[in-house]
Symmetry: D2
Subunit: 343 residues, 4 copies
């Protein structure tokens, strides 16, 4: 921490700051500047938000943190990238560029099976589908719940694709974990710390989506909640942030991919469907994602988007998905990643 | 819903849109425009996000919702303002301007009792204090949990002030409800729908804070989750939104107060502490809040902010709070609100 | 400046940073930390953005500025508030709360005279009106230009109200200055440095509006452009920033008022019309502005808003403006400001 | 335009709206809805912001524009993409992916010549360099002005690279046009309409950067200012928007590329340097840009970034630029674009 004194602060105010720094277990170190003094608080400041309270002292202009507050997620602590294993033989964060695909919501057996076969044929390695849906409106379709999980399991049985599905309530963690291969935390729950702590105690990979207004630093702190409970299998996912622009549903923060990869060892994938809200933008954003260094994608694909119970406008038709996968493979090759498309 | 056709869309594409509108249970009504056609879908569109799926049809340029999607929270449905009773004789949303005050976290018996006496003496009508703290970092102080609730209850016993405290986990709803007079939902949980649904089944007032990136419409949909479960005692709270400006912790969206009050019958209070992050901005923002038409405030007050376990920089000292309350009463009078300060 | 070294940086990288700091005319001062070193660059860093280039050195993690980069606008340099004189006997920044009012655009002689008489009768002290209009669309009404300035001058002649009007092109500065008492710089031109420099050479007060995405620090740097050319009569104006919220045209950053007043000695007024875009929000936001400590307002008033050539939806009718002024005077009294309403 | 009536609006209020629509030259068309009526105003609404004034009528809830307000920039008006010729044999918007590169500011003859040779050798087709610099602080280096233009011309002479350079003041348009091959409008001037109108009268290509808080629709309206004056050679440039995220200088809105290309026929390039502010993010964002469908790039390259007078931290070293160009060529090939790297 750097404590910046006011330009008019006197000797006594400086002494008070130094005393308080010592009380908090740090060593003060003063730099006498041209127009004001600054005081370094030497010690491991991570997790010591309490130093922020120095700002209440008279004579203090500002308190500037120097260290990043996350540890287990940090590249400084673990420089080599983490490989998150989904099932034996399938990992995210390695050479293979991993595509997860499927409908927004599980709606019926026919719909999920048709989706699963289609995305598998095109090269997807996981099937996505929502059984518990967090919807803005209480009057919207809320998901098939356990029935949806059973249909996902049936689709896995038929196709061999592992499944990724969202959990929204700590109460349902155990239930969802009985069916899911990867537990997804949605953007709205990125700071649902009660949920994160429970997922930290599971032995399952977690797909943690960035929130709409979550800074990269806060996002890594949320990952840290899971990691610090013992579960090291966290996959990050950039899915668009909220900005003033309304031409897209959110604004895909593509530079978050290399920024995250420089700060953390965890794998990073991209969700172009929620980021843009428009089916016709999914392909260009998917190409951009692999070129920017992402480790994979999660994409909404629906057999008949115009009849989808949710997110129809941002779902690809199977044929468009298959065409995109072909071109994606060519981009992946330039990025030195493997991506096998179905046939 | 208004469905805007592309300028080049032909007769067949228009027919397809009309057919699909009818299938969804609406009546299509075409306006033939100078450069393109638009189609109105006549019917009660609330809760019918499914109309959005029309956007996937070829020939459709855009789908524009006309109706606001909330019902029970709406002023159109209930034009007169709602009075939310806290305890007999104390309500939010009426003539009295209600101030809730106290520390961010409950830290010790001495701290919470000292706070309670101080804020009561200055005219606060409820005591705030956190026992379950949602913290960005897993390494930060997470609250005293049930012990904190007990200390709050002791402070209520001593001062007679009802207490408002946060619940973050659906699992803890019953526990917190045993102690709290008002259950608070924090900004991070504004779209934690599992939590909202449980609170909708309680017979207790709920203080629902706006999220950092929640639009006013989404915010009212979250209130609708509680209302639609049967609990009509919801108090809204503007607490700052996330913007590009870093001089303040968040940006207090003061115009949200009259906007909310024109769209909903629910009472609206303001949290100047979290909105600004700086103790010296609390008084001017509190005056602005009452002048803008708010029904009350929730303010952080701590006996010794420089030693606070959380949010020290944005907590008022008791003497500063008392001074602010005096001036606030004068502003309240102009706003035709009563506000009794302690003595 | 504080230069934060990477945790793995070695002795040689540190030596390189120290050498470069000395070359730039500063004194390096190293704090040896627990996990990494930081280096203070001692000297007057203002205007020395060149220190940022240190970030390109290997071993440097981050460069953190400590000093605020503005001088002449700063409260540290000039602690007492500045009074900006408009005409003898009329100043902004003192005890009187100053209201400027009038139509968005000057449209006709009848319209501007009617407006001028109406706003004067209600207590406004300056007449606003646009002759050069910066419009988003090239096909929108662009203002009456010099003819508009002449009509404003005629309205001043009739009512005695000084006039504030916008200049958008450096080429027109001289022309506008022949008519205007206060030269307005609109939000879109807040970083039109060529224009600011020319206005810095005038002997006229400048009303400098904040831009839609201008941080408070950048805003004060723009004021500094005018001040550093010799013109010390700058009035600041918060007029809403761009955020994700669409219920209002912009988001009025009301906390910018006390933040600005703590950082600069310049007076600060508020424009509730552009900030909100809705006539019905002008009164509550005006009350909030005076309560938050603003020195005045600039408000759009039009005799017939439904026929206005621009900004009709955010213009008050004269009767509504007069009613607002009455209540505003009561709020001003609590804020210890004088505000004489017409009669 | 769609005029949405309030749910309680009566027959007379509807009649008033219809009358006013007719007065403005449109044909009203009413849809009688389940809970409220909406009125379509049939006619070419572009450039008719005046319809917005209907919002001031009692009984009107909201006014929703249907048509996009730009014409000449629109794909609906001109479906095929525009090729903007820089010099004979060199165009932006066609098969070739065009890279413009060079230092932020022209600092000296040696610096600009060295830069020019380096970027040419690596495959850049234009040389960028600023002679007039819009700087946030009046105390920062403001550019060499005409001397800088002469040095750019000398570099063109030596290398054959056409030059792109910024103009910030309408007064300097003629001067800059004597030297520049492409006139650049910076982000801060995207709504400097006086400047845009003058550039619209030139016979030179214009590189128009998006502003930090400019929506895509506003951005295309700014292009329309240039086009409507007669100059059809406009190149658009996404360079990052301002959001809450501070890990990058701005947030590169990569989805703006396909969105712009679907709405306009004008070419679109990307500026990864200003978008991110960090040299190490330039390569991944450049790859993302070509994959997303951009027509080119403008990149900052400096022989010694750590000594740059401006923007050092976001400038590539020549060797890193050359390495990036090699990989960029491979991505361009997948995107079916040609990109010749130097050797």
């Amino acid at each position: 921490m750097i404590i910046v004194m006011k330009s008019g602060a006197g000797r006594q105010e400086l002494a008070e700051v130094k005393k308080r720094i010592r009380e908090l277990g740090y060593k003060p170190h003063v730099i006498h500047g041209a127009t004001r003094n600054v005081v370094g608080a030497v010690g491991d400041e991570r997790g010591k938000a309490v130093l922020q309270s120095l700002q209440s002292l008279s004579g203090v202009d500002n308190v500037v943190p120097i260290l990043k507050p996350f540890k287990l997620a940090s590249r400084e602590v673990k420089p080599e990238p983490s490989l998150v294993e989904i099932v034996p033989g399938l990992s995210v964060g390695g050479d293979e560029f991993i595509v997860m695909a499927g409908p927004c919501s599980v709606e019926s057996e026919a719909q999920i099976l048709q989706s699963a076969h289609a995305v598998k044929a095109a090269g997807a390695r996981l099937l996505r589908g929502g059984a518990f849906k967090p919807r803005t409106s209480p009057y919207s379709f809320q998901g098939l719940e356990e029935e949806g999980l059973k249909l996902l399991a049936a689709a896995r049985e038929e196709t061999g694709l592992p499944i990724v599905t969202e959990v929204v309530n700590p109460r349902d963690v155990e239930l969802v974990a009985r069916y899911a291969d990867v537990m997804q935390v949605g953007a709205r729950n990125v700071q649902n710390f009660a949920l994160l702590k429970m997922l930290g105690q599971l032995d399952k990979p977690i797909l943690l989506k960035r929130g709409m207004a979550t800074t990269i630093q806060e996002y890594l702190m949320s990952a840290e909640y899971i990691l610090s409970e013992g579960n090291r299998r966290v996959i990050l996912c950039e899915r668009g942030i909220r900005t003033f622009e309304t031409a897209t549903r959110n604004t895909l923060d593509i530079s978050a991919v290399p920024v995250l990869k420089s700060q953390t060892h965890l794998p990073v994938i991209v969700d172009p469907s929620h980021a843009t809200g428009h089916a016709r933008l999914i392909a260009p954003m998917s190409y951009a994602a692999v070129a920017a260094g992402a480790d994979g994608l999660i994409v909404e694909v629906h057999p008949r988007p115009e009849e989808a119970a949710s997110d129809g406008p941002q779902s690809l038709k199977p044929a468009d998905f298959a065409a995109m996968m072909k071109k994606l493979a060519a981009y992946a090759e330039v990025a030195e990643r493997s991506l096998a498309t179905g046939d």
